[in-house]
């Protein structure tokens, strides 16, 4: 179910003195099974953009089409769209409200009309995906740690079994182990179930390590939509909009300036190691 965004613009507070243009004339298509990152500086419109994907926000102009359904049409069944496109918001732990973790995770599927037997099965399935033990299920979500709350919130969206999963900075404020766990869980979901994933992130390393393609937004405009290697090729362009390339790419670029050419499109540590090994084998000197 491809997501097609056509010439979309969005303005907050239209007609008030606080009017703020958040998105301007954005078009792109995300295909089935894509793993896409959305990057951009703070306030560039990432969170606004993702809320268009399930009709939480309606664009001022332009169209958003998910699985052939036009989200801007009046008679669209939003409940159905929202079961297809799951969004994990920035700091999702603030949306927990139930007495127990179990009930909170069950909230989404229950809204979609799943029976309690189905829900029990679903919860058994999603819990290990986010790295939680079964013994947290009967605890109150408010007595968990921040990282655990985050996992519960993500599980709450996964439990809706969306075909497209959108995550807004899911790893912000987590420890390195927690980040890696959540990222690998997302990657797993994409690889095994073929879920389309859109990941908003400020960490270029995470982006380079996980995704296939990158959407770059700056001040509400789409600057690039390309593969990881192509986007990170031009470090000055990224720097101009307050972003950067992954650290390892910076190292490779420095080496290149010093005369050690390891090749282009190196964005992960593993790729860099391979390139260095190849370079040494070919008799290059460091």
């Amino acid at each position: 179910m491809p997501i097609i965004v056509q010439n979309v613009s969005y303005t907050y507070g239209k007609g008030s003195p606080f009017e703020k243009k958040a998105l301007e004339n954005i078009s792109f298509t995300i295909d089935d099974g894509d793993f896409v990152a959305l990057i951009g500086h703070t306030g560039s419109g990432k969170s606004t953009l993702i809320q268009l994907f399930n009709g939480l926000l309606k664009p001022d102009s332009g169209r958003v089409i998910v699985d052939g359904v036009d989200l801007c049409a009046d008679k669209t069944d939003m409940q159905k769209v929202r079961s297809c496109v799951g969004i994990v918001f920035q700091y999702p732990e603030y949306q927990l409200f139930e007495e127990t973790v179990y009930k909170d995770i069950a909230y989404g599927p229950a809204n979609l009309g799943k029976t309690s037997e189905e829900i029990a099965l679903i919860i058994d399935e999603v819990l290990p995906l986010v790295g939680l033990d079964a013994d947290v299920l009967q605890k109150s979500p408010f007595e968990l740690s921040g990282g655990q709350k985050r996992r519960v919130a993500i599980a709450g969206v996964l439990a809706m079994q969306p075909k497209v999963l959108v995550l807004d900075e899911p790893t912000a404020g987590l420890d390195p182990a927690g980040r890696n766990e959540i990222l690998s869980c997302i990657k797993n979901l994409h690889d095994k179930k073929g879920t389309t994933v859109i990941l908003v992130s400020h960490s270029m390393e995470d982006v380079a390590n996980t995704v296939d393609k990158i959407l770059v937004v700056s001040d509400g405009e789409l600057l690039a939509y390309d593969t990881v290697a192509n986007v990170f090729k031009d470090s000055t362009a990224l720097k101009n909009i307050g972003l950067n390339v992954p650290q390892v790419t910076r190292v490779v670029n420095h080496l290149k300036a010093k005369g050690i050419d390891l090749g282009d499109g190196i964005c992960t540590v593993d790729a860099a190691v391979d390139a260095i090994v190849r370079y040494m084998k070919e008799g290059g000197k460091c």
């Binding site: 007609g15 399930n54 969206v157």
Partner: protein
């Protein structure tokens, strides 16, 4: 829907109304509210209307915003108008159906109430739209300071009012965010009967309460870290000074008050 509530919001613009001393502005607003209740004739309301129109025009906030501030009140407005329309006694009965009757007095009363409410909201909104929270506190505190000798905690009261005002937009924003998040989880706030709709609000209210308490706690800690310990011996960085603009504004206000009183007395 929630975005329509602009109560307590401040629009940082550059206008004469913004520049008026907050103490004067608060007094003017009180004065205006009293005058609304004096103006009970069409001519009086016309005068209040023209005055409000000019003030809004001068404040540069824009009529759209001011009209929006009335939107959440629509229900109360209609409710009071209808109640007044049908349940006011009077001799000249225009229309009757069982116990419901419309009299000329009823129509006049309904119009009176509706107009008063509208002007009341417009007047107080203009005050908060054009006065920054800090100035508003300063103003309230100064105005209350004569009562401090009688044991009134004027500084604390002013601080409480400002914090409450300051957090209205923040809370609304937060509510909006939580509603979005729960909608993304399939919550449905728009259909079903009253009980179902009320129940659907629980997933919004619980996180909202929790975050409000967290926010209050954080704010208290932050204030303490910056050595806030109440009003005792506290001075302001910016002293309020009365300028010629304030006296001019006072003059205008006095003329307005006289006009209303004259109209009311039937000149």
């Amino acid at each position: 829907m929630l975005k329509d509530i602009t109560l307590g919001q401040y629009f940082p613009l550059d206008s004469v109304i913004h520049k008026i001393d907050p103490r004067f502005k608060i007094m003017f607003t009180l004065c205006y509210i009293v005058l609304i209740f004096f103006a009970s004739s069409p001519a009086g309301y016309l005068a209040v209307g023209i005055f409000s129109f000019l003030v809004i025009k001068l404040s540069k906030v824009g009529f759209k915003v001011v009209l929006k501030s009335l939107k959440p009140l629509l229900f109360i407005l209609c409710f009071t108008a209808v109640i007044n329309l049908f349940f006011t006694g009077g001799d000249t009965i225009l229309w009757q159906w069982k116990f419901l009757k419309i009299t000329t007095d009823g129509i006049i009363n309904a119009a009176n109430m509706a107009l008063r409410l509208v002007f009341l909201v417009v007047g107080s909104s203009i005050l908060t739209y054009t006065t920054s929270p800090i100035l508003l506190t300063d103003g309230i505190e100064r105005l209350l300071s004569p009562f401090a000798k009688l044991g009134l905690p004027s500084h604390e009261l002013a601080m409480m009012m400002t914090i409450a005002l300051r957090f209205i937009p923040t809370l609304l924003e937060e509510t909006e965010k939580i509603i979005m998040a729960q909608k993304a989880r399939g919550a449905d706030f728009e259909s079903g009967n009253l009980i179902r709709r009320a129940k659907a609000l629980i997933p919004v209210l619980v996180p909202l309460f929790i975050s409000s308490f967290r926010r209050a706690d954080e704010l208290a800690t932050a204030m303490e870290c910056r050595c806030y310990r109440g009003g005792k011996g506290r001075t302001s960085l910016r002293q309020l000074r009365v300028t010629s603009l304030d006296w001019i504004a006072l003059g205008v206000m006095l003329i307005f008050a006289l006009v209303i009183i004259f109209i009311n007395l039937g000149f």
